[in-house]
Symmetry: C4
């Protein structure tokens, strides 16, 4: 049997979750799943409609962005995924969508401020919006540089990729990641909901203050801290 | 037969209504149902996805928040439910969601003003938004204090829990209750719709006045007053 | 066979369209259908959930609001329907909903300005918002007076009930009507869409002018004028 | 076999996609598909509900707007389609909808500014909003003039119909086109999403700048340029 079959199946299932969760229309998104032992990841082929997608079409790519197996061309965002896997060895899945509210924040070039406990259940900071890239980076190896734009944005803010598993790329759209494909897709859906709630919050109260530290820390810690008591 | 089976079944069915009514994504909510004779309530286990939830997983907890029966850990919000049952002996079900519009109002730290008869059909007052708790309460027994924050907010405003069966906890999200699980879940869906309409009303007319007393009283009384003539 | 069966069936089918078209949640709406020969109309019983509604439950009421046949209490809005049938002999169906965007405009106490051809396909005027009633009318025969509030609002503006088949009752919600149940329900769905588009239009361009007369008349006439060429 | 059957089937299928993609309610839209060899196009009959539409009801019309075959009256917008086919020989399908967000922009009489890469994946310019027509044009051959309004709007801006395959007609609604019915319908759904995102973007950041040239060109070129690498 094809040694890539497991990550192809996982990547296929995760990609199919995107339209189910109303995070994409047509081909506006892609999920990849990595196999760290084999040093490769499986990713959606470029421009293939979700209704016609098949497991064996998932393209196998190494962490430098070279196609290793597969008949189709991988997603045009493949190099961004590759850079993240290469530089962050603790993640096994990356998701990119153009989900409506998260993309609107990205287009607005604003971080999503932390306004409530729904947000604090996932991270203690604002959701970062990486600035648009320089013209040189854009004209150069664009998708490859997009990966570095994400990595550098976290670095400059002193955040690790486990402090925050989601980011907006300015003028573009969101990326999320996680230890599993399930978690990375979950993060994309949660980001969309946080983005929608933050938009509504500012409409309802333009002078709204951010969430205070005690609540941020409480909600994050009860889910992720040492004495966490959320879940089983 | 398990003497808790009845409330487990009711709690299970009520929890499953939340995703059906688009009030939760993933595990963002929980319903409990009390048995006053047994002095316990059944509540959703923590962090279990609605798609995998089973009747027998409903955890049985007493009104001090101690688990009485069940293999799983109860919802992280369990103590809030317990406090409400202990102090309000006229309610038999509590619902907590992070429904989008109600949560946006909670994050905005504003009461939902009474703007129309849809709202007045349920209560004659603005939907209260309890202020965020003090840092001491948050760092202490947080979920337990959340229950008191709700109880005290109504008390300070001179409201009983039957005057208004819904509240926003500032920066967090809504809680609703009722004499039955059906009514408590109904209240959560109605709150979400009232929250959405109030948001749109202010967008359409930022200087909109509140509903006048004659209309408030008429609509509330025709549904809840002595000479009520709504329903069968 | 029950001589009311035909209008009961039509009223039942029309009521069931409301949740299908996302115009109501729970019991937030009602449709009636008149039989002019018999001098009665069939209307939804009060407070009965759409999921449990049955044809034979439709209550038969005369144009003075007296129940003529049926075991259940009719909709609490029955007298409003009765007044409209009694004073407007050219309509055979009335619909009341609390659909989200139309209700938000009603709560805002503003007419819906005519901003586009979608609106002009239905009427040449702004959708009227009848002012909230006087306290005396509210405390008196409220639902009966609501009917007169609607009739008088059109009268004061020099409009007939065929010039505009939809209205907002200030602080309350929309009513629509038509020659058939199909048309009256259609009008409720169209009103909701016009309300949503007008809200968005003002958000996108707060200084937006209204549609100019030439376009208003063209679109209305091609659908309703003497030389109309829309439809079959 | 009917020589028009192929375009009738394509037009039928494309029309049925509109309600599936939530781009129309009731009869608020129409798609046509041209056969360049036969010099005709198939278009939806006027005012027929999508739930009752049948393949053989598609009306066959020539590029001057004369009905060539079919028992029903063609869409009231038929002449607009005819003008576009006659003057633009590189398109084979035209779509007209009243989709909510795109129509709100049209009613606002504003171009949709280019704010992100989702937009740049389709065109490098703002989505044009053709100004409302002069009163003479409206009172004259209205639908015919609508076609010229579209053609002239692009001409005045120095755009070809392949530079941008979508337009708003001021105060009215959107039109899109393409080499195939699939592409023209796809463009209508994308336009609606771009319109929604641009609306949200301005709400979130009223001072938002437009997308910069380097990003516009990069995203457009990777999908449409000489060295394009999107899709298979």
């Amino acid at each position: 049997m094809n040694k890539y079959r497991k990550i192809q199946e996982e990547a296929y299932a995760a990609n199919m979750r995107l339209p189910e969760l109303n995070l994409v229309i047509f081909t506006f998104g892609n999920v990849s799943v990595a196999d760290r032992d084999l040093g490769v990841f499986a990713i959606k082929p470029s421009g293939v409609d979700y209704t016609k997608l098949q497991v064996e079409q998932m393209v196998i790519v190494d962490f430098d962005g070279n196609t290793v197996a597969g008949d189709l061309r991988p997603s045009s965002d493949t190099k961004t995924h590759a850079v993240l896997y290469k530089h962050w060895d603790n993640i096994n899945s990356v998701v990119h969508t153009h989900s409506t509210y998260a993309t609107a924040w990205a287009q607005s070039q604003r971080d999503i401020p932390i306004y409530g406990t729904t947000h604090a259940d996932y991270t203690t900071c604002d959701i970062p919006c990486a600035p648009p890239m320089s013209d040189e980076m854009i004209k150069g190896n664009y998708e490859y540089e997009t990966g570095f734009q994400i990595i550098n944005c976290l670095k400059e803010r002193g955040l690790s990729n486990s402090d925050v598993e989601m980011i907006l790329v300015g003028n573009h759209a969101p990326f999320t990641w996680g230890k599993t494909a399930d978690k990375a897709v979950h993060n994309s859906a949660v980001l969309e909901e946080i983005a929608r709630m933050a938009y509504l919050t500012e409409q309802i109260n333009p002078q709204v203050p951010k969430l205070k530290d005690a609540l941020i820390n409480k909600h994050y810690d009860r889910k992720h801290g040492e004495g966490s008591y959320y879940g089983q």
